[in-house]
Symmetry: C2
């Protein structure tokens, strides 16, 4: 992991989402300095395939009323939830869809100084099982987009799932990468 | 700004780098919930042009002994330092180089829930003025790479300046984008 909290660190604050950890770090010249790092629950995001389409959400949050596009997903419950279970749970709650064909596509620590992993799953052959169960902090609508529109999310400054950008760009500009991504999402 | 801390928020913890802020947020159903967001000093990174090359650092940190490539730059001193002044200061300290030709290239809030802006500057026509002044937490070497190697940093999982990836990818795959970026860096 890129920025794991070392074993000698102590938690100095525990917030609603973030924990703050500090430790005495030995520097290159032998002196010491207090270093600081955060921990937050991991998150999952889901590229959900429905037929030959991909499921995209439009989301508003209570403190961000301007709608923005997003993938289904969310925060793990605490620090011990299994990544796939968390992804399935958030996906079902937000969309009402299920899948029996899950692939872990990417696993990334997106930002320095924070112990936080973002899991990106692909859920193939999704089917709708129930209505979404949104909580009071969620206002989400769902629509299906085609593969080309999915790739063009890499041009949208309000699409925050940066972990996907490299794959989307490669697929846009390299025919081989495009065929590979299509196969990954839609199978043969 | 993507995730600004609202005016009614209160700071509940102040660490060495991060501050934790909380507020009562009205939810979509009229209930309220405590929301949390962080603030940290902004950072600047510099794409420095020296002749027809670009300056790349290899960096070690006291708690990350595996060297990784990085652009010069660093953290602002507090929350009020001017972005260009901060970039010039960090650039001079880490590399010993100066420039009279600065462009603000990108300004981005890289991560949700954190009030934090990353400024990416281009410094053209750089020249060496003095030896680097590294502090006890820095172990940095500097080398000059050519434009093609610069673009290929977008394939390096240890290159963390993700704000550049879209531009690097476009320049790799689109001749027009490549010509544009070359002009931006090296002039006519």
């Amino acid at each position: 992991m890129r920025d794991a909290i070392p074993p000698n660190a102590k938690m100095v604050f525990k917030g609603k989402i973030f924990e703050v950890w500090q430790w005495e770090q030995k520097m290159f010249d032998g002196s010491t300095s207090v270093f600081e790092r955060l921990r937050r629950p991991n998150t999952a995001q889901v590229v959900a395939v429905v037929g030959d389409k991909i499921l995209l959400q439009t989301q508003q949050q209570p403190d961000k009323m301007i709608p923005f596009p997003s993938l289904p997903g969310g925060r793990f419950e605490g620090f011990d939830e299994d990544p796939l279970e968390a992804a399935k749970r958030e996906f079902l709650e937000e969309t009402g869809y299920v899948s029996n064909d899950w692939i872990l596509w990417k696993k990334e620590n997106p930002v320095g100084k924070i112990e936080w992993t973002v899991y990106t799953f692909i859920a193939r052959n999704c089917r709708k099982q129930q209505e979404p169960q949104l909580d009071a902090g969620e206002k989400i609508t769902t629509r299906l987009i085609d593969f080309e529109e999915f790739l063009m999310l890499s041009e949208n400054p309000s699409f925050y799932e940066r972990e996907l950008f490299v794959s989307l760009f490669k697929a846009r500009f390299s025919p081989e990468a495009k065929a590979e991504l299509k196969k990954l999402l839609f199978g043969e």
